[in-house]
């Protein structure tokens, strides 16, 4: 984190979400701590993204979401956005904004209504661009970037807000191996800087390589919760996905360049899934 202060964790108790009369999420409780990456796992339609949006305050929910003991529902949208930043899988932005302008949007919660940028704003933007390895993209038009580049810029936008808690919705979906690896390494870097990260992931190998703890969802309920190694184990995986977890079925990837500090990447243990 840019400033050493404000390491905040997030706690959810009995969160339920009903969308259009249908119960999508039932009684989910979780805890995420600074310096830790929590994976939200589960098959399509299990409610992973819905849970993430509820935690970000983007959906009405029942139950309680707390940041440092304070009820998130009682915070203004500005106060919430200073603490929690949400990174969508894809941005809906279609206008011709430059990368720097997109990242500057993350500073919205710190500015007044006047357009000017303070030195602090510019520092935060530069720092975020560097952290996300997006500084070379600075003057490019956002909509003309590759999906992987866009993902890094969206991460930079979230970092620019200086929010200690980051919620990432399938950050590696639609990315190629190299791009995906870069994003996973960035996630570990951010955890090493004491960010609190909650990440929706599709790939169980990515979860094993990158996250500390995991929450396995099925049909809106928590099936298993604990260290990622325990959650991604034969019994719950068979129960939820209907597949058999086998050892050494998959060749892992390790970063080809110098590893960042605090990275735990590299799926060398080679745990993978195979259909029965």
């Amino acid at each position: 984190m840019r400033n050493g202060d404000g390491h905040l964790g997030l706690r959810a108790q009995g969160v339920s979400v009903t969308l259009g009369g249908r119960s999508v999420l039932r009684d989910v409780s979780l805890e995420a701590n600074p310096g830790e990456v929590l994976a939200l796992l589960g098959p399509n339609g299990a409610g992973k993204s819905t849970l993430l949006k509820a935690l970000a305050g983007l959906l009405p929910y029942e139950g309680r979401v707390e940041i440092a003991g304070a009820d998130v529902a009682s915070l203004s949208s500005r106060a919430r956005a200073k603490r929690v930043s949400y990174v969508p899988q894809r941005s809906l932005l279609r206008s011709a904004l430059s990368v720097e302008e997109v990242v500057a949007l993350g500073r919205y919660v710190h500015g007044g209504s006047f357009g000017g940028m303070s030195k602090n704003d510019r520092d935060a933007i530069n720092h975020a661009l560097q952290t996300a390895h997006a500084d070379v993209l600075r003057d490019r038009i956002f909509t003309q970037l590759s999906v992987g580049e866009q993902q890094r810029v969206l991460l930079a936008r979230a970092l620019a807000s200086d929010a200690p808690i980051l919620l990432l919705d399938e950050p590696t979906a639609a990315l190629d191996v190299g791009e995906g690896m870069a994003v996973l390494r960035l996630i570990r870097t951010l955890a090493a800087r004491k960010h609190t990260l909650i990440v929706v992931l599709h790939d169980l190998a990515d979860a094993l390589s990158t996250t500390d703890r995991a929450l396995l969802l099925q049909e809106g309920r928590v099936v298993e919760q604990g260290s990622t190694g325990d959650v991604v184990s034969p019994k719950p995986i068979r129960a939820v996905y209907g597949v058999k977890l086998i050892e050494n079925a998959r060749i892992g990837f390790a970063p080809g360049t110098d590893a960042d500090t605090g990275t735990g990447t590299g799926t060398g243990t080679g745990t993978g899934t195979g259909t029965e």
Binding site: A81, P88, S91, L92, L93, R94, A96, L97, Y108, S113
Partner: protein
């Protein structure tokens, strides 16, 4: 930035031409003052209406995340015009006969209510679908509805000759008959609304990424939407009440400016105000110099420029698959 010197230069040239060009003879010492005064009012009215409509265009384009939106395309100007006519009619029918005075104050209020109603319908519509073409079609339907309601009001008003004339000339929309009192009421309305729109500019930037992302970045989406709609209604009301019931200004001007001023609202809004004013003053000069027995309505000139541009934009967006 060289954009502003250029815009000010254009304003100077257009302003000078607007005063000098016209059918009146400026060499006649007795009539010169009157001509200059009338042309001055006309220049001010065109500039104010142009500034208001162009900024209105910028804001509704951000509000609906749709580069094809503008107050006239969405039916906002038609709503304002109808509201103004109703205000004229109520004022005229309630007032005791004799000389009919143009009610400078009630007309802008009527225009404001009409504009806000039409924008509110579209905002509520956003909850159902965010589809680009569906939004434009709804705007078109609103526009048609308000035009037929206007026709009804006109036919009612024709029972009184003076009232009928006032309502008809108002609905045609022209800056040629705008007087100092109308300007005095419209100027503060438009000025306040321009500043207010600028203040909402940063929030409108966030809205470009869609409701969910804007909310996650700390914007109060509901407040941004309704306040923007209110200030756009004030702008359109001000423009229509000085006779700027003209189409496509809010579409043409922001589109021409974006390559130079960028997309961020706080840069685009002041530039659009200036450029919109210059654009409408220039259109008014064109309306005056085209040879014709009677003067060509201003809306005809802006329509001839704006309608083809709208189609070009639509085709390009469909090709890029950027929106639809």
């Amino acid at each position: 930035m060289r954009l502003y010197p250029l815009l000010f230069l254009l304003l100077l040239v257009a302003g000078a031409l607007a005063v000098l060009v016209g059918s009146g003879d400026l060499t006649d010492p007795e009539l010169r003052d009157t001509f200059l005064k009338l042309r001055g009012y006309r220049l001010a009215a065109a500039f104010l209406a142009g500034a208001a409509l162009a900024v209105g265009g910028v804001v509704v384009q951000g509000l609906f995340r749709n580069p094809l939106a503008s107050p006239s395309v969405l039916g906002t100007t038609a709503g304002a015009s109808f509201g103004g006519q109703v205000a004229l009619l109520t004022y005229g029918l309630a007032g005791v006969g004799g000389s009919f005075v143009v009610p400078e104050m009630t007309v802008p209020i009527g225009c404001f209510i009409g504009a806000l109603v039409s924008l509110a319908v579209l905002l509520l519509f956003l909850r159902v679908t965010q589809d680009l073409l569906a939004l434009l079609l709804t705007g078109f339907v609103l526009s048609a509805l308000f035009l037929s309601l206007s026709a009804f009001v006109t036919s009612v008003a024709q029972e009184t000759w003076e009232l009928g004339r006032a309502v008809v000339s108002f609905s045609l929309g022209s800056v040629s008959g705008t007087g100092p009192r109308q300007l005095a009421f419209a100027l503060p309305l438009i000025a306040v609304a321009l500043v207010a729109c600028w203040f909402w500019g940063r929030s409108l930037d966030l809205l470009l990424s869609g409701e969910e992302e804007a909310q996650s970045m700390g914007a109060n989406v509901g407040a941004v939407r309704w306040w923007s709609a209110i200030w756009v209604s004030v702008l359109v009301a001000g423009a229509v009440s000085v006779g700027g019931n003209v189409g496509f200004v809010g579409l043409v001007v922001p589109h021409m400016l974006r390559p130079f001023a960028g997309t961020k609202h706080q840069r685009l809004i002041p530039a659009a105000a200036l450029a919109g004013g210059v654009f409408l003053v220039a259109c008014d000069i064109i309306a005056r110099v085209i040879p014709s027995r009677s003067e060509i309505p201003l809306g005809v000139v802006t329509g001839l420029i704006g309608a083809p541009l709208f189609l070009l934009l639509l085709i390009r967006l469909r090709r890029e698959r950027a929106y639809a």
